[in-house]
């Protein structure tokens, strides 16, 4: 049975998201109070022990990131909360901001304390502009209560949070593009090094995390009963917000314990596919994610098991596509997304997306040859191993995985 957990979402609906007093009444800000009595390194270790991996897509060890950021000595450092949430079928960060803005503000403040930063920027996608007042209100009330600003809670720690709205490009969710966007430059990724932790926003050492990654932290610091680590197993401890969408009866954001099977996610939480249709494919982790067919249903949703099954957690989305959409049409849709969103600065992604789009169109017209398929495969591989940023690297994940899972789609009549 797919049972929902309420660890990250435990505050949802429990308080008035426009009122800090309401938040305080349910124990809000006890995590920050505890944090400032701790050594930053211990905070990072606590996160590392719970094996929290970044929830923005790359699944980087979060405790390690905080510890590395902390280790960089500089008079001025910044924290960035990535609320660009640009992946397709991904809307969990929106839920967090909507229902629990104070927890996010508290979490970012704890991060600032841990890594010795003075400022934080929340980079929120323009489409979430209706949530701006909510965040600005939370920041303002936190300042009024002394949880932000100078000498927080009587310590030497001073910290401010700023809200920045992005201009809407998917690629701006990529860290280096994001910082350029805040700096007022065109939102195009840059090469690394320098790495963000050394030189990020305004060339200052920068620690970037996703909204969900942050949201875990206050709960984890107060988790004396070790509830979080009681969920899941191995490298996948705790819970995860997933965004279930597509052809399911009950789409939405669910908090699941790691280890819930894909079948339980789709057929129990999501109540299955409507209209008596059968499952065609599932894409995990947004447009940049890989696809699987029904053979994956009994796989537990964990980092390792999904990887063995050929897909990844990515942004946490689970997009269900039923038999009304062909694999080819699905791939063309995904390709259109990347052909639109590539920033165009590096050759493999700029030109590769175009050619693959053309070959997919040829396939749809039944004009593609085996040579076209070979070329398409080659270009897709070149994109994934040689693009400048994660967008080009992952843009052909759907195609390359579909070629393995649905070989019949790519079998054409004659040679050539």
């Amino acid at each position: 049975m797919g049972n929902e957990a309420t660890f990250i979402t435990k505050n949802f609906g429990k308080y008035d998201p426009m009122s800090i007093d309401s938040y305080l009444s349910i124990g809000g800000y006890s995590a920050l109070k505890r944090a400032i009595s701790m050594d930053g390194e211990d905070i990072a270790s606590k996160i590392a022990e719970a094996k929290v991996k970044g929830r923005g897509g790359a699944a980087y060890d979060m405790g390690r990131k905080w510890s590395q950021s902390r280790g960089i000595k500089a008079p001025h450092k910044v924290v960035i909360c990535n609320a660009d949430e640009g992946e397709t079928c991904t809307f969990k960060d929106r839920e967090i901001i909507t229902h629990d803005p104070f927890n996010l503000i508290e979490a970012i403040t704890i991060c600032g304390y841990t890594v010795n930063a003075q400022d934080a920027y929340i980079y929120m996608r323009e489409e979430y502009r209706h949530l701006r007042p909510r965040i600005l209100n939370a920041i303002k009330q936190a300042e009024e209560k002394g949880f932000l600003g100078d000498r927080i809670l009587g310590t030497d720690f001073s910290f401010r949070i700023h809200l920045y709205s992005g201009a809407g490009a998917y690629v701006c969710g990529e860290g280096t593009a994001l910082i350029r966007s805040i700096e007022g430059k065109a939102g195009r990724p840059r090469m690394k090094p320098p790495f963000m932790k050394v030189s990020g926003l305004f060339a200052l050492p920068t620690c970037v995390n996703n909204v969900e990654s942050f949201a875990i932290v206050p709960h984890l610091l107060m988790d004396d009963k070790r509830e979080y680590v009681s969920y899941g197993s191995g490298e996948s401890l705790g819970t995860k917000l997933i965004c279930l969408g597509g052809n399911v009866r009950r789409p939405g954001v669910y908090e699941i314990p790691f280890g819930t099977t894909v079948r339980d996610i789709i057929f129990d939480l999501g109540q299955g596919i409507p209209g008596g249709h059968s499952l065609r494919l599932i894409q995990f982790g947004g447009a940049s994610g890989k696809v699987a067919d029904s053979r994956i249903l009994d796989t537990p949703y964990t980092y390792d098991d999904l990887k063995k099954a050929g897909v990844t957690v990515g942004s946490g989305s689970v997009l269900v596509i039923d038999d009304r959409t062909s694999v080819l049409d699905f791939l063309r849709m995904t390709q259109d997304f990347f052909s639109e969103e590539s920033c165009g600065q590096c050759t493999p992604c700029r030109e590769g997306n175009l050619h693959i789009k053309l070959i997919l169109a040829k396939m749809a017209r039944s004009e593609a040859t085996q040579a076209d398929i070979r070329e398409m495969t080659k270009i897709a591989k070149i994109m994934s191993i040689s693009s400048l940023c994660g967008l080009g690297e992952s843009a052909q994940n759907a195609l390359l995985s579909a070629m393995k899972v649905f070989p019949e789609t790519f079998e054409l009549g004659g040679e050539n």
Binding site: A169, A186, R188, M191, P193, S339, E340, E341, S342, C343, G344, Q345, C346, T347, P348, R350, E351, G352, N353, L354, H355, L358, A371, E375, K378, I379, I382, S384, I385, S386, S387, L388, E393
Partner: protein
């Protein structure tokens, strides 16, 4: 040196040791392996955007960009594995598919980095279909042509314009496969902040930005029996031209160059070094006049047309600081159409004056209405060094085998002071040699002014002229010029005289110089100019016998009425079009 930490790695199984901080690209170069690259330029920060330098590094699932990845201890690199080959060739094919491939009629045919790579990888039938888009050339100014259909979006031009020149007249627009490199609002270049300095055309690896080709105009003039075609060659050309013909960089090829011009059919081959001396006479006198009469100080040099375009567009309020002296090229033009015409007994209308210049902005300068009289231009055509190279190839000369010959008289003698005009600091030093003597009445001591030499972006010095000290500054690149002008605006420049050249290193690094002009090459050319200076019988402009004769027979005195009429000009604010939009 002894403190440099060495890193040990393997490239294609060969052991390599390089200093810490070296990138894979240079580490491979050190053992004779050329990893293909297009967006990389030795004088620019790595961009890692073309991705053609992708190489395999053991332990990495993805390939790494050799131009931007620092080596590490124990690194194992493969530059020629199957996956690397497939990727490099694949990327090249992707570039070609969106490229106007008309090499045969391209300005860069035979001298193109993209073409070289296609030849190297033996690309025959491309695997991917042609996806070229209809992209119109921009051809509205006298200096530079942009062919966006040949642009591979490497970003070198954007970088040089922004980082070296501080202009940002070129930028990226649009995204995905529509990405283009263009001007703000897609305006034609002369209507933007652009100064036509041509540094973009120098770093561009393809035919996407090139000088406006005037070779045919010159060939036509040379064929016309009724036209008396004379040519002047700028000081910086003779130390750069050899690069195209198999000489070491910095080789001095004056003799062969003069022979080549004579064989091309020019009626007279003259030297811009001569009129550089003339410029010193006028500009030096103007400086003294300003000092003695409380004129606008500091005075700024006016011989670099990229710089003139810059100040007219960006700092019009500072124009009164500019010396009114025309550039050596334009002074030569004016003298050629007056004094020389009379001397040679040739009707002015039959004289066609060609200038061979290291510079694209000179084409614009020559086309200015101020640079002529009675509807006639002082300089009829300007060729860049690169176009000159094309002409030499056109007529089939084996340059290296040519005998040496001498410039013609009377506009063919230049002093050492004129020779060093081509280097940053050279105009200043030339002026100091003359001004020092004029003021002190003594031989310039020392003759060489080493404080104003060298590649530093900004140089300063103070010299004691007895009655008064003069404080001078020298800067090159427009980024440094901008900084200097900002200081001047704030009243932080207590100099008397400032030399400014638009291009890195001065004219020897000009936008019209041979491809592969890097800062290393520039330094060698600068040395070569000082070498020429040392070997000349006259090293001060006022000692040049032809200059003495010119003043005696024709001009009278520096700053005389005739001088003013022919050799001086004024400047005007130039509005950038988009200011009005």
């Amino acid at each position: 040196m002894e403190d440099v930490q060495m890193i040990h790695l393997k490239i294609n199984n060969l052991p390599v040791s390089v200093p810490k901080g070296t990138k894979i690209l240079q580490a491979a170069q050190s053992i004779g392996i050329d990893i293909p690259h297009l967006c990389f330029h030795p004088d620019q920060r790595a961009k890692a955007r073309c991705r053609i330098c992708s190489v395999e590094v053991v332990g990495n699932r993805r390939l790494l960009a050799a131009c931007s990845t620092e080596v590490w201890e124990g690194m194992e690199v493969f530059t020629d594995s199957q996956i690397v080959r497939d990727t490099q060739v694949g990327i090249l094919q992707l570039i070609m598919a969106d490229h106007d491939k008309n090499c045969l009629t391209c300005a860069r045919n035979h001298r193109c980095e993209l073409q070289e790579l296609c030849a190297r990888f033996n690309i025959q039938i491309p695997n991917v279909p042609d996806v070229t888009k209809d992209r119109k050339a921009e051809n509205t100014n006298p200096s530079i042509v942009r062919n966006p259909a040949k642009c591979i979006k490497c970003g070198r031009c954007v970088r040089v314009c922004k980082d070296t020149q501080g202009i940002e007249a070129l930028t990226y627009a649009s995204r995905s496969d529509d990405l283009i490199v263009t001007t703000p609002y897609n305006l034609s270049m002369e209507k933007t902040d652009c100064t036509l300095c041509g540094q973009c055309s120098l770093v561009c690896p393809t035919g996407a930005i090139v000088e406006k080709d005037d070779t045919q105009v010159v060939l036509n003039a040379l064929q016309d029996p009724n036209t008396h075609v004379i040519v002047q060659v700028a000081p910086a050309v003779r130390v750069a031209l050899g690069d195209a013909f198999g000489y070491e960089s910095g080789a001095i090829v004056t003799g062969q160059m003069v022979t080549a011009l004579k064989m091309l059919g020019f009626d007279r081959v003259f030297d811009t070094n001569f009129s550089a001396d003339l410029t010193i006479m006028e500009e030096g006198s103007e400086l003294l006049h300003r000092i003695q009469n409380g004129g606008v100080m500091p005075m700024l040099t006016s011989c670099s047309p990229g710089w003139i375009n810059f100040i007219e567009k960006h700092y019009p309020q500072l124009l009164p600081h500019l010396s009114t002296a025309k550039s050596p090229m334009s002074m030569f033009g004016a003298i050629s159409k007056t004094y020389y015409a009379k001397q040679a007994g040739v009707p002015v209308k039959n004289i066609f004056t060609v200038a061979i210049m290291p510079c694209t902005a000179k084409k614009f300068e020559a086309a200015r209405p101020e640079m002529g009289r009675d509807g006639m231009r002082d300089v009829d055509a300007v060729l860049t060094t690169r176009e000159f190279i094309k002409l030499i190839r056109y007529v089939g000369l084996s340059f290296k085998d040519l005998p040496e010959s001498e410039f013609d008289s009377p506009l063919g003698t230049g002093s050492g002071a004129g020779a060093i005009f081509g280097a940053t600091g050279g105009v200043m030093e030339a002026a100091l040699r003359t001004v020092y003597e004029k003021v002190t009445g003594k031989e310039a001591q020392p003759l060489e002014f080493h404080d104003v030499r060298g590649f530093a972006g900004v140089k300063e010095a103070t010299y004691d002229l007895g009655v008064r000290k003069v404080k001078v500054a020298v800067c090159h690149t427009l980024l440094n010029a901008r900084k200097m002008m900002d200081r001047l605006e704030k009243g932080e420049c207590d100099y008397d005289f400032i030399e400014i050249m638009a291009c890195p290193g001065g004219c020897i690094g000009g936008g019209g110089q041979p491809y592969d002009t890097t800062n290393e090459v520039r330094k060698k050319r600068i040395e070569a100019l000082y070498e020429i200076d040392k070997g000349l019988p006259y090293r001060k402009s006022h000692e040049n016998p032809d200059i003495i004769t010119l003043y005696k027979d024709f001009l009278g005195e520096p700053l005389s009425d005739t001088s003013h009429h022919l050799l001086h000009t004024d400047y005007h604010q130039v509005h950038k079009l988009y200011e009005f939009e």
